[in-house]
Amino acid sequence: MVIAAELGLIYAILAIGVYLTYRVLDFPDLTVDGSFTTGAALSAVLIVSGTPIWVALIVSIVGGMAAGVVTGLLHVWGNINPLLAGILTQIALYSINLRIMGKANVPLLRQSTLMTPLREAGLLGTWGAVAIFAVVVAIVGAAVYGFLGTGFGVAIRATGDNELMARSQGVNTGVTKVAGLAISNGLVALCGAFMAQYQGYADISMGIGLIVAGLASVIIGQAIFGMTAVWQAVLAAVLGSVIYRAVIQLALNAGLNPNDMKMISAVIVVIALVLPQWSVFKKIRHRRRRVMAAEAV
């Protein structure tokens, strides 16, 4: 379970990114599968070439943001449907990621990475590492929460919530969408950079299906912890990610094989999306909402 907690916290950064697009912007962004690998590829190649790690991380984030900008422009300028815009960028990134890495796999095993001190201190795979990861995620989450409370952040949220209203209030919704996608994919790429260092290599296929994992985290977290306030929603995405990894871990322990995980991920998301529409759950939610409304008055 410690491994699941470690993985869950690293992937929580991706979940926060997916929360930004899927929930805040109401834009299901499939760029994620590609931009995650972009982040991993850039940091792996830079670290191997001897670049300082913090530079590698910044370049990874910028690379992810650029991918988000491309998807955003395809949608805003090109009038391409959000799903299709994301898929197009994702596919293009596959080639770009291969170019960045020069081959399908870049090992980091003998390199000094962010994980090296943790490994040397014997912390990896213990609750010590979990605590350190939790602090990092808390910093990222707090930064995102703070951003969403700024003038620009609120404009992004209004864009996703009621685009026509935002525009009639002077928000350039093209700019807010592109910026939201850029920030989201910057986080996703940062997550990829961490992941490459954690597992000790970057691989061309490491991002496949991650959008589903991200969605599962956001949806599970929201179902369990609610998302009335922004800080709650961010926290829910993080906890959702940890729970999701724990569920996967349990499935593996129960004897399923790693190749079945994509199937399980998809099933989890389908369940999380469909269940709330069933009348029993609807009733529970209505009751909860009524109570909340009553409290608010």
Binding site: F147, G149, T150, G151, F152, G153, V154, A155, R157, A158, D161, N162, L164, M165, A166, R167, S168, Q169, G170, V171, N172, T173, T228, M292, A293, A296, V297
Partner: protein
């Protein structure tokens, strides 16, 4: 303050479904004018407001607001000079944002939205003062999500959000139509108050004849994309809903909106 010259707007141009929503329309509003607009279904009233706000670009003609040509200017760019309240109470506010966040969006109109806090203590004080003028007790619920408010409350908030930045022109599209009578009356009264307070120039579409006559200093009637009757302040004082109906009957094929209320 507002000038529309020879505005034509067609939908589905060049197809069998072609529809001329505005047909060479001319309209000029002076500063402080408050014009009520009535007309049949599909007369082009909403399209007119959409052309002024920039949601639609006219096929022909010029739109001038406050001395500036804005015909092709994007909606968000002219938003600081145009305030709008829509018929649908859901349209003018953002349901998942709190009351104070909605107000922050509206009060920041025309300013750069940067990385400063959207809602600060001093802004909150301003919001509270403004909300008090609505007399709905919303000033005590700044952190409540707008989706929890009733239609009337949301519409009152929309009105405040549309008028606060003192737009050059305020556009109201049947903004009381979706409300029950007592709420509609409240919003109508608040509209009059806000318009007077900020000395706004306003264009208000309504299906309520009595309201169209009582409010404002001019009344226009639209039919098939044109202004077919223009009643000035003096004539308006003496007119009645029955008289307006009679005028309307003189136009071939015209019937008033099926939502028309005589009183």
């Amino acid at each position: 303050m507002l000038q529309l010259e020879n505005i034509t707007k067609r939908f589905f141009a060049g197809t069998v479904n072609e529809r001329t929503a505005l047909d060479g329309l001319n309209l000029k509003l002076g500063e402080g004018d408050f014009v009520t607009v009535i007309g049949s279904n599909g007369a082009g009233k909403s399209t007119l407001l959409n052309v002024i706000s920039g949601r639609y670009t006219p096929d022909e003609g010029q739109v001038t607001i406050d001395g500036r040509r804005v015909t092709r200017q994007a909606e968000h760019r002219r938003a600081s000079r145009v305030g709008r309240v829509f018929q649908d109470p859901m349209a003018g506010t953002s349901p998942h944002l709190t009351i104070e966040e909605n107000l922050a969006i509206a009060f920041g109109r025309g300013q750069r939205r940067g990385l400063g806090l959207a809602v600060t203590g001093s802004k909150r004080e301003v919001f509270r003062e403004e909300l008090k003028s609505l007399e709905l007790g919303l000033e005590n619920r700044l952190q409540m999500r707008v989706g929890m408010l009733s239609g009337g409350q949301r519409q009152a908030l929309s009105l405040l959000m549309a008028t606060y930045a003192k737009p050059a022109i305020l556009l109201l599209d049947e903004h009381t139509a979706a409300l029950d009578p007592s709420r509609a009356e409240l919003i109508t009264r608040l509209t009059g108050e806000q318009v007077a307070r900020h000395h706004l120039t306003a264009l208000m579409v309504t299906h309520n004849m009595q309201q169209a006559i009582e409010l404002g200093n001019r009344l226009i009637m639209m039919h098939e994309g044109r202004i077919v009757l223009d009643v000035d302040e003096k004539a308006k004082k003496n007119t009645t809903p029955e008289h307006l109906l009679e005028e309307f009957g003189k136009i071939k094929g015209a019937t008033l909106s099926d939502r028309t209320l005589l009183d």
